[in-house]
Symmetry: C2
Subunit: 361 residues, 2 copies
């Protein structure tokens, strides 16, 4: 789901590595920021983990690895969920664990076939809590139309986990209507966003009770496959690239796109849907909504001439009513994301730096 | 890997559910024993988790789920590793995480195609430790000839994990030479064990330093696919069933077989290879070697007339030199494992009860 995860370093053997400076990791210890999905996460994964695991450096980031077996195209992805608190308005770790993994498959252009679920349980965990989360997992999988076919259960001593951690692995079948690649993105292509951003991150932040702010906000946790399916039916190969902007938010996802397609991304800030509650909380907390995690939205790059059809298809699907064209791809400035304000000004939008929102998924 | 895990409840849609009493889970809280791979684990998984996740009750236990996509048979499995300590003589969590998952595929009759790796890191973890484990993971994957194609990295606060937890998901390609099913097991079939048991469990227990006992023992952590491959080449469909006896040991694996094939299993205790160090430690600690976890052995049921060829094939493969026929399948007493002693006596061998060895993998 999040764009700087290890999962986002799927191999694609037919492509040459991207040029660029090799990333190095020099921190002596792991810090919370290394899990936040921003620049520090990228340094850890690209500078240390991926090379030692034998993964090809400099590959474009994707949400799931593409695998071909006996002529059948498949996608494979895995995510671990450590969200705190376990339950929050609109959702819980159980449905997050299904939706996050199914969405990684969806934005890779794959419909979900099967899920595996593994659990780390802390000794002393009330059975009622585990039962509620297993029920949420089962319900989310049923809603997504995907079978849970296996998994694993481990128990650690009290104090060695925070209630429970869930890992979900997903296998998907590549949808032949879609041919996605950051390298097929062209100047003039439009950036489409499926709906309002920041709901999940701000909801979880407020659910922790550390901040004295009340508002009626719910996580957007939701499977995006029905929207992706509608998009594929409407414009097919007119879709060039997709991503679900989870940890690190829209800003991080678009910066990765800019890097991978070697072009510039310009977004019109006034067109980016943001609820008043999210905007207000971000202003109070000094956060940028573009950096806040989402769990039920996706970004798509669509060929210019097909963008209106694409938006109409997403809007006609439940959850996609607020879909909008929010920007475009430009030749300059290359590898940069610019946000244009209503007053003709612009600012560079960087990836998430630091760790304003730990354990958001 | 371990036989009472959630992963062992793979669907096999072509089979009717097994008859038998439904398992119920009534414990109010999760305890360490629920993760030990024995009876308590089975109650948790079969009585609570699997039904809520929509998995078919009463299905035979398997180590990986069988999936067919576009006519291609595949196996899918996932395991989480929480072993303590992270390093022990002969191995570490990194190579355990690869071998455990690759072995689950192997005993399901599938060669490994791709792995995903997800990490839960504790803030404050020394980078050098993470680096060593990523190196171990990469080396084990290279040795098994399997590519790591993706994953995820999360960080939790100091004290919310025990250094690091690793989850590996594996996709394998079903080997057409093998047709494995507990229901194809027939009275007269032979039980084959690939080598000495208990090395992993006793090594990890001693590595914790809680017990004042020194001996020169190493974990058997190892990929068993080369042995399985040799077995398949030698006797093909003569192999009826396989299992890697991890958590819960040989006793638990054979009890599950007895339940699933509805026959009796008789093992000749004198033929079960056990090193003197393991036997001695077990005597001192009041443990049965048949309950101790292994990470580089497998059990196979082979048609009577092919058993000698099968043993010869395993013995000719590195790691399998001590393979032996250790027992046979009988009609009576059904659903029971008996150990026959050298003096003509016999004892019932039950599944692991309680939790003598927490966090062994």
């Amino acid at each position: 789901m999040t764009s700087t995860m290890l999962s986002d370093l799927g191999r694609s053997a037919t492509r040459a590595p991207l040029p660029g400076r090799p990333v190095t990791f020099r921190d002596a210890r792991i810090e919370m920021a290394h899990g936040a999905g921003g620049k520090a996460s990228r340094r850890l994964v690209e500078g240390l983990i991926a090379p030692l695991l034998g993964m090809t450096p400099g590959e474009p980031l994707t949400d799931a690895a593409a695998i071909e077996v006996g002529g059948v195209g498949m996608a494979l992805t895995a995510d671990t969920f450590v969200v705190r608190p376990l339950r929050f308005p609109g959702g819980s770790i159980g449905d997050l664990a299904v939706n996050g993994t199914v969405n990684d498959l969806a934005v890779s252009g794959a419909g979900p076939l099967a899920l595996l679920v593994t659990l780390v349980l802390e000794a002393g965990l009330p059975t009622a809590l585990l039962e509620a989360e297993m029920r949420a997992l089962g319900a989310a999988a049923a809603a997504a139309g995907v079978a849970i076919v296996g998994g694993d259960t481990k128990v650690v001593e009290h104090g060695k986990a925070d209630g429970l951690y869930i890992t979900t692995a997903g296998l998907g079948c590549a949808d032949r209507r879609l041919q996605l690649s950051a390298r097929s993105v062209t100047a003039g292509d439009r950036i489409i966003l499926s709906g309002p951003i920041g709901d999940h991150g701000i909801t979880v932040l407020l659910a922790r009770g550390d901040i004295d702010l009340e508002c009626d906000l719910r996580s957007d946790t939701r499977g995006v496959w029905p929207m992706v399916d509608a998009l594929a039916a409407a414009v097919g190969a007119g879709v060039r690239w997709m991503r679900d902007p989870t940890r690190g938010g829209v800003a991080t996802a678009l910066n990765e796109l800019a890097r991978d397609c070697r072009l510039g991304i310009a977004i019109d800030e006034e067109r980016v849907p943001v609820r008043d509650e999210v905007r207000g909380a971000c202003e109070l907390l000094g956060l940028d909504p573009l950096h806040i995690a989402n769990e039920g939205q996706f970004l798509a790059v669509v060929a210019c001439g097909r963008a209106d059809e694409a938006v109409a298809a997403i809007r006609a699907t439940p959850g996609g009513e607020a879909a909008a064209i929010v920007g475009e791809v430009r030749t300059e400035p290359a590898r940069t994301v610019l946000a244009m304000s209503g007053f003709g000004g612009s600012r560079v939008v960087d990836m998430l730096v630091g760790d304003p929102l730990p354990r958001i998924c």
